[in-house]
């Protein structure tokens, strides 16, 4: 088994490398094909304009009355949009001159980027600090398995280029921070917020106000999505709507609460649509209105929201908020929400054990109760054998179940002649809730309670690599 395990991991590694090489080759092929088409088009246009005795421009654009500046290839590529009376060549020409920055190449950013690359923007910026993971794939449809473990920006840029090699793509493999936001955002006409946390949302909105950029903002969680355009032609900014950040308990991440893949997909597509409207100057932007999407009941509601607030601390009449204040502003402190979730450290060392120590306890058949404090629907996905599930939220109401489990173990133990009391070990998914539970249990007099550091993720990483993570 051991040897087989080693072999298969080598094969998986080699497969991964080959797939990556394949993706890179495909990208090079598509770039070369596009180049060939360009060259052919240039030769054609030279021939055409020679026939009309007009001197061709080096760029390949025919200068025989085509004021919109589209090349023959662009006319052909975008013809289905040019044929739309409400869009047409003028809108396409505006689009080709515009630049858009998409912040976040995740669930919202994936479809937004695909459509923005396809529709023919001039320049598309992508910023994200994260790498592609297997549990992203169900919703972050821009990424392919070959890119697992690689930066999302690299993966997204490769996908965009393979769809449209004629647009310029800027890659930023970094986190957006107050130190780089002004410089990066200032290079684009329109900003798309496809992030997943409150501090980023406040930071991006404030930065857009300072730079005078419209902001296409989308959000999705579970089965619901929301969409609006901020800071557009006198419309409200994010702070006009939400001057005070919500309590952290009201801010859920998709990685904790879950999300149906297509829900951010719908919102991300609508973000691309609003961006295209802004960039091409067609239609009526979703400013001072908000779209609320409820996937489960199949309801979309568009509501009227307040305009710009004269009292707003950032875009209001008496605001003195400037670029220096922005650079110094602590958005994590303001929202009480970490930009990058790190492990919690609530308990003293003696109240904790690591997963390897817990494995030894199991091997020694030491009497204990293993309490799993994850929500019941998490417990159903996977759990350790012989564990008791009481979700943290119900712990107080269900303490009697823990007491009777302890009693049972103690009685079973008494018959074998040993005299030590059984310990309580508490586990959760990542080792945060288990600490909260232990703190609480110790307050209630369960002095033997200890948490398993790093939760089931650590168990999978350090003890049993075959244990499923999610």
């Amino acid at each position: 088994m051991e040897a087989n395990g080693g072999d298969s991991s080598a094969i998986v590694r080699e497969l991964k490398e080959l797939k990556l090489q394949k993706a890179e080759l495909e990208h090079r092929i598509s770039a070369l094909e596009a180049k060939l088409q360009d060259t052919a088009a240039l030769e054609r246009s030279v021939a055409v304009s020679n026939g009309c005795s007009v001197v061709p421009k080096a760029s390949g654009t025919i200068e025989n009355g085509l004021e919109h500046g589209l090349s023959p290839d662009e006319i052909y590529r975008y013809s289905r949009q040019l044929l739309l009376p409400s869009f047409g060549v003028e809108a396409q020409s505006n689009l080709l001159k515009s630049s858009v920055l998409v912040i976040g190449a995740g669930g919202l950013g994936s479809p937004a980027l695909l459509y923005l690359a396809a529709c023919g923007l001039g320049r598309l910026g992508i910023i994200d600090h994260d790498v592609v993971e297997l549990n992203n794939m169900h919703r972050q449809i821009i990424h392919t398995e070959a890119f697992i473990g690689h930066p999302k920006v690299k993966s997204a840029a490769a996908a965009c280029r393979s769809i449209n090699s004629t647009i310029k793509i800027d890659e930023y493999v970094e986190a957006l921070r107050t130190s780089n936001a002004l410089e990066i955002l200032s290079q684009y006409d329109i900003i798309v917020d496809a992030t997943d946390n409150p501090p980023s949302r406040y930071m991006i909105s404030d930065c857009c106000v300072l730079l005078g950029k419209p902001l296409v903002s989308g959000a999705a969680l579970g089965m619901e999505g929301q969409l609006t355009v901020y800071n557009h032609k006198g419309g409200p900014c994010y702070r006009c709507l939400f001057p005070t950040p919500p309590p952290t308990t009201a801010c859920q991440r998709c990685s904790d609460s879950g999300v149906l893949g297509v829900v951010p997909g719908v919102i991300g597509c609508l973000q691309a649509l609003e961006t295209i409207k802004l960039a091409s100057l067609v239609g009526e932007p979703l400013s001072e209105r908000m779209l609320l999407f409820d996937a489960l009941s199949a309801r979309i509601r568009i509501v009227k929201i307040r305009g710009r607030s004269s009292q707003c601390t950032v875009c209001g009449d008496n605001s003195s908020f400037n670029k220096q204040q922005f650079r110094d502003f602590d958005y994590e402190d303001f929202t009480q929400f970490p930009l990058f979730a790190g492990p919690l450290n609530l308990l003293p060392q003696e109240s904790r054990i690591n997963s390897k120590e817990f494995k030894e306890i199991l091997e020694r058949k030491q009497q204990h109760v293993l309490l799993d404090v994850r929500p019941a629907h998490h417990y159903k996905i996977v759990s350790l054998p012989d564990s008791l599930n009481i979700p943290l939220a119900n712990l107080e109401a269900r303490l009697d179940e823990l007491t009777s489990a302890l009693k049972e173990k103690q009685e079973g133990h008494a018959s074998t002649g040993s005299c030590t009391n059984p310990c309580i070990y508490v586990v959760c998914r990542r080792g945060n809730d288990s600490q909260r539970a232990v703190e609480y249990l110790r307050d209630w007099g369960f002095d033997s309670a200890k948490d398993i550091i790093g939760g089931l993720e650590a168990w999978a990483a350090d003890v049993n690599p075959n244990f499923p993570t999610y």
Binding site: G104, G106, G107, L108, G109, A194, T195, D196, N197, P198, R201, G218, A219, A220, L221, G222, E224, G225, Q226, L241, F242, P243, T244, P245, P246, P247, T249, A250, C251, Q252, R253, C254, S257, V259, P264, I267, M290, L292, D294, S297, R301, I302, V303, K304, I305, R306
Partner: protein, 99 residues
């Protein structure tokens, strides 16, 4: 008066995971108009089943909750002073941050 209350963005979890509540609210004695202020305290008492602090802070909704009266932000109709009429639809929605 008959009202439709809707909860979204996770606020439905505070009221038995029911999103839509058709309710009948009687005017308090000696009062001729129902305002959003009255309705909020009625909702807190009669609809919210758990963690009321996730819905109310002070005498208004907690930060991050949008209130819509007939699909219109209550900021545009007078916030707590907005008067409610029979058959109105009031939506409470928590802002989402995920993506």
């Amino acid at each position: 008066m008959q009202l439709t209350l809707e909860f979204g963005g996770g606020l439905e979890l505070l009221c038995d995971s029911e999103k839509i509540h058709k309710v009948n609210v009687d005017l308090p004695n000696g009062v001729e108009e129902l305002t959003m202020k009255d309705l909020l305290s009625w909702v807190r008492t009669n609809v919210i089943k758990e963690r009321p602090e996730m819905f109310i802070k002070g005498d208004t909704v907690r930060p991050g909750v949008l209130v819509l009266v007939n699909d219109c932000d209550w900021e545009l109709s007078g916030q707590l002073e907005t008067t409610i009429e029979d058959k109105d639809v009031i939506v409470f929605i928590s802002t989402l941050h995920g993506g």
